[in-house]
């Protein structure tokens, strides 16, 4: 229990500013670490940093924990029927299991309840300042950071505090990505992004076009098949639609059984294709294009119902949208549909408005290039967690990222020379793909990782750092 007393207790911010920056006072928070965001990745960052003896101030612009999973939040992308697509063992934090009495694929309200319990169980709320937004993060001397906050904590005014390190856990599924379509502005039907889709009642009796065959697009298409008077589902290419259950068990558990035997990728792809052919069958029969890639080369889609409704004729598959006209949508194969509601399930883009792009080593495309998708090469005391698109649940990956960040910050303190040499050897390497499969190029796959390949890289990093302590 020693770590509860080690430097961990946050002191009341000093009234007198220790220094000044550009005419504004900077309040020194000494060795404390700033965590931005109290969603899943922020919570596990607080918990693990505290466990390693760090004092933590977390800022959350909403008024509750849970981030994207908190449906009360304006920016939450969840819809009423959203369920997990990875089963419990892959979803939960590795050291705080979900109740085993819960279903294999819990509902989003259960995920929120789980995160709230995690926060209470580990006493995380006392370290979180709710209703407080981070407006700017800028480097100060000695690898420290000036964090400007605004909101409840600062009485609505800007206030700048200096931290030893900053962990950015602001999520990447809240800023919708809108593709540009010709003629969209003339279209007289309603067009919304999937983030604005909340409830199946929005679809009832309408003619609905769902664009995008990600997990969200497929979920909405399935709901439209049941509620709407007509449903078109537009996808760019043929995909592999994995059922949620295979061989009587959650499919991801079957997949990991095979992975645990270290079966090579080619063999796994063959096994998967064969299983799909034998069970789901040939999807081109329903008018879907044949997948132009092997399984594991795009983000996996877990949906048992899409194929079912295709087979019932309740969903009409269509190719890519070419253009909108006043009252219709034209597709790549020349077909035309006349929907009165278009839902763009076209994903999200990461956004870090409070950080200058070069701090995160953002390239010309707008993609942060980070070591382990977490550490910017030029700033050893800045880290991003949760910026991943795993082929499995993300919470456990966030947990290990947080452990890595905490171990790294400890190493810098306890063995600065070893830490420096470690940094030189590794952190310029931002090329890691953490995926043996040849993943398709797309903003969708910027952070696509195989959970096994990624965790092996994290394990290697941790072993190396722990050996140095």
């Amino acid at each position: 229990m020693s770590y509860d007393s080690v430097r961990g207790v946050p002191t009341a911010p000093a009234d007198a500013a220790a220094s000044w920056r550009g005419g504004t006072p900077v309040h020194d928070r000494a060795e404390n670490v700033c965590v931005i965001g109290a969603g899943a990745s922020g919570l596990t960052a607080i918990k693990n940093l505290r466990e390693y003896g760090f004092g933590v101030d977390c800022y959350e612009r909403e008024t509750g924990v849970g981030g994207a999973w908190n449906w009360r939040h304006d920016r939450s992308p969840v819809y009423a029927s959203a369920h997990l697509i990875s089963s419990k063992p892959f979803t939960q934090f590795p050291d705080f299991p979900m109740p085993d009495s819960w279903p294999d694929y819990p509902h989003h309200t259960q995920v929120l309840a789980y995160l709230e319990r995690y926060a209470d169980h580990f006493g995380l709320r006392e370290h979180i300042w709710f209703g407080t937004e981070v407006t700017k993060v800028a480097p100060a001397e000695d690898g420290r950071w000036d964090v400007t906050i605004s909101g409840a904590k600062s009485g609505g005014l800007d206030r700048t505090q200096r931290y030893a390190a900053v962990v950015v856990a602001n999520g990447h599924n809240w800023s919708p990505k809108f593709p540009a379509y010709e003629g969209l502005e003339d279209f007289k039907g309603e067009v919304i992004h999937a983030s604005a889709y909340k409830d199946a009642a929005q679809l009832r009796g309408r003619r609905v076009l769902v664009v995008g065959a990600g997990n969200t697009g497929c979920d909405i298409a399935v709901e439209a098949a049941q509620q709407a008077s007509r449903c078109w589902h537009s996808s760019r290419r043929g995909y592999w639609y994995a059922p949620k259950y295979a061989y009587g068990r959650p499919s991801d558990q079957v997949n990991d059984t095979v992975l645990s035997l270290r079966v090579p990728l080619r063999m796994r792809q063959w096994l998967f294709h064969r299983t799909m052919r034998r069970t789901v069958g040939d999807l081109t029969r329903f008018g879907l294009p044949k997948p132009d890639h092997k399984i594991y080369e795009t983000h996996p889609i877990a949906n048992s119902q899409l194929v079912y409704y295709l087979g019932h004729g309740s969903i009409t598959p269509v190719p890519d949208v070419v253009r909108f006209t006043r009252d219709a949508v034209e597709f790549a194969d020349g077909r035309v549909a006349e929907p009165d509601l278009v839902i763009l399930a076209t994903g999200y883009l990461p956004r870090f408005e409070f950080l200058a792009p070069d701090l995160l080593n953002v390239d010309a495309e707008g993609r942060p290039r980070l070591y382990l998708h977490a550490f910017p090469p030029a700033y050893p005391t800045l880290a991003v967690t949760g910026l991943l698109q795993p082929d499995s649940g993300i919470f456990s990956l966030m947990h290990w990222q947080a452990v890595t960040v905490a171990t790294w910050l400890r190493l810098r303190e306890s063995a600065p020379e070893r830490a420096a040499s470690y940094w030189r050897r590794h952190h310029s390497d931002v090329s890691g793909r953490f995926n043996k499969a040849k993943v398709k190029q797309s903003t969708r796959h910027w952070f696509e990782v195989s959970h096994v390949d990624y965790l092996r890289a994290v394990e290697k990093t941790l072993r190396e750092m722990e050996a140095g302590q």
């Binding site: 229990m1 020693s2 770590y3 466990e51 419990k88 063992p89 892959f90 590795p94 050291d95 705080f96 299991p97 109740p99 085993d100 009495s101 209470d120 169980h121 580990f122 006493g123 558990q253 079957v254 990991d256 059984t257 992975l259 645990s260 290990w400 452990v403 171990t407 965790l455 994290v458 394990e459 941790l462 072993r463 722990e466």
Partner: protein, 274 residues
């Protein structure tokens, strides 16, 4: 190296099946202002083979609540009023402990007795407890087996072949406990039928180190007829300490005549460490 055990294929690919678990509690009484438990962590008591949550509700649970701790006692699967399960392994016992611990309101102290001590030791590697206490822990191995065969061949040997493991009253209690009381308790200690877990006791790997740096205390008696003193010392050494010993008591410290001494020592240690 404890923190870097990331890959747990069996937990991912074939999770332990769910089971109904018995959890009994005794809560501290409010003394006016402030938090009822004064910020003290909740305690989770885990009984071992043959015992259910009842073994702790007899004496220790209420005593701990009287000293201001929210106290809980559980029964492992196949014990007490918890559900029965097939193919019970040591892994399933550790799973039961972590499941109950994670549902408590705050980070808990895990206190395991006998095989429950081993379940707690394993659970400490999966859940960052505030602290762990191993009371007369049975870590298994051949020395413990030989002791058990020597003291109670009729109850132990058939267990090797998958029959029930039966414990005798002479193994469980010291001489000071009245014989009628000892007989009554011994009658409540059920035979155990978990052949896989019994075999694993002989062959299992040593528990991993706790996550989250939880301090661990080992408590026992040099006159325990199930866990020899050497085994207690070895267990304590794993966590960098020496066992806290209560001479003259039997294996079941929580039911024996001087039950109050060990629980007071444990709570004192928690108050100091906390």
């Amino acid at each position: 190296m404890s923190r870097t055990r990331i890959f747990r294929w069996r937990e991912w690919a074939s999770p332990v099946p769910a089971v109904q678990r018995e959890v009994l509690t005794s809560q501290p009484v409010s003394s006016g202002f402030g938090e009822i438990d004064g910020g003290r962590p909740p305690l989770l008591f885990v009984p071992g083979f043959g015992h259910g949550a009842w073994a702790f509700t007899e004496k220790w649970l209420e005593h701990a609540a009287g000293r201001g701790f929210a106290a809980y006692a559980m029964s492992l699967r196949g014990h007490g009023d918890s559900g029965a399960a097939r193919h019970v392994t040591l892994r399933a016992y550790a799973h039961d402990v972590v499941q109950v611990a994670a549902r408590l309101p705050r980070r808990a102290v895990l206190i395991g007795h006998g095989v429950g001590g081993l379940a707690v030791a394993n659970a400490l590697a999966r859940y960052p407890a505030r602290a762990g206490v191993l009371v007369s822990p049975v870590f298994g191995g051949f020395a413990t087996f030989a002791t058990a065969v020597w003291r109670n061949p009729a109850g132990t040997l058939p267990a090797v072949f998958g029959a029930q493991l039966r414990l005798r009253r002479g193994q469980l209690f010291g001489r000071e406990l009245g014989s009628s009381q000892a007989r009554e308790y011994a009658a409540r200690v059920a035979g155990v039928s978990a052949p896989l877990a019994q075999w694993q006791l002989l062959l299992h790997r040593a528990p991993e180190q706790p996550v989250g740096d939880a301090p661990v205390l080992v408590v026992g008696s040099p006159d325990d007829r199930i866990v020899p003193l050497r085994a207690l010392e070895r267990a304590a050494r794993r966590y960098g300490g020496a066992p806290l010993l209560f001479p003259g008591m039997g294996h079941d410290l929580m039911l024996d005549a001087r039950w109050q001494e060990p629980i007071d020592a444990i709570l004192d240690w928690l108050d100091k460490a906390g």
